[in-house]
Amino acid sequence: MKSTFVETENVKDFHAKWTALENRGAEEACLMLVDGEPGLGKTTALSHWAIETQSIYLRANAEWKSIWFLNDLLKAFRVQPQHSYEKRFAQVLEALLLRQNQHLALGRPFAVIIDEADHISRNRHLMETVRDFADIGDIPFILVGMGALRANLARFPQISSRVSQKCRFEKAGLEDVRRFVDGKCDVSVASDLVAFIHRVSGGFNREIKEALASIERFAKRNGIGSKERPVTIADMKGQSIVNDRASGEKILVPELA
């Protein structure tokens, strides 16, 4: 498998939404929501973006409280927390603004990404803290989560009205599967097998990568998979390609797909 980051439609959509957020009209509307089912590549896409832009990336915990959130932010900036909530809030705000200024000078985007934001999306105090930072410092926050995130935020109109961009990660289409094959697979794969991967993976990135690893292993073992002789469904008949997400059963390549 090649170690490349594949730019899927979802990633492109995220970049487009980020550009729209940067060009927003209302300065205070600087929250962005990224959601979708597990296994669609949200965490990978956002980690890649955070590493590329050197933004702050936090992972919310189930028991996160406002003070814990501030402590994690201060830890990210290596600032020694002071002894009251008020002072810590000011410390975080200062650190965020300084970092934002540095990024601005370098022409580098900056945001605070909170992964697994479902854990905090029902916590009014924490969401209000996020809103305060966004309001006072115009600091963009990207909340990443699964299905419940959007519905939970709708309970707080003062927060959901500040979400200027919503990016839903969708299941991969045939084009995306082809991108994965071209970007990650060391062997050539025929289009009938690409279509089969698309069907059995259900469009989930995890399953697609698993299928590609199976194909690559099979092709290398049998000395096929060159450009002139791509791996086809007929080559792989009876082979296990991926495990079914719902049942955990192995999915075998049929003789005639």
Partner: protein
Amino acid sequence: MSDGSERQKRLLGLLASGRQLSMLAVAGEAKYTLRNTAEALRMLVLRGFVERSQDGAFSATASGIGQHASGAPFRDGPIAKTRRPPPPLQNTLRQRAWSAMRLNNRWTIDDLLTLAARSSDKQPYGALQKYVHALCRAEIVVVLPKRVQGTAPTSNGAKVYKLLRNSGERAPSIQRDGSVRDHNQVAA
């Protein structure tokens, strides 16, 4: 020597014997007001001579005991040079790889390549391998016992690593003698 420095010296003398005392006990023994005691202890903590435990007790640190033993005078004025905000992080392969190590619980060099390498990087695999090995030697990174299965029939699998000491956002650098310099510790 100012009154403040005199008080700090006296309080350090009380704590240098290795005792752990609450602020009230320190104020009582030194016969200072609570306000003066709190201020003097705060300055001692800032100077690194005294530390405060979670239950609120104060005790002398090793450098505090050394300071008391040497009898050197407390100098007035700023304790440390006012630091400028740290420079922005460089956007190098190593810095990006370090960020990727911090974000992921366990990872292979291939994972780092996926997240951190750009098409413009020259021989990123070799560069990252060298960097990760140096971090392993410095015990900043450890190798986990289980390997990730490879796809080639003769593959031994790929080593899985874990960051042991996540000291901060600045990537440690490798010195000419092969040692590793942690810039986060320097900044702290």
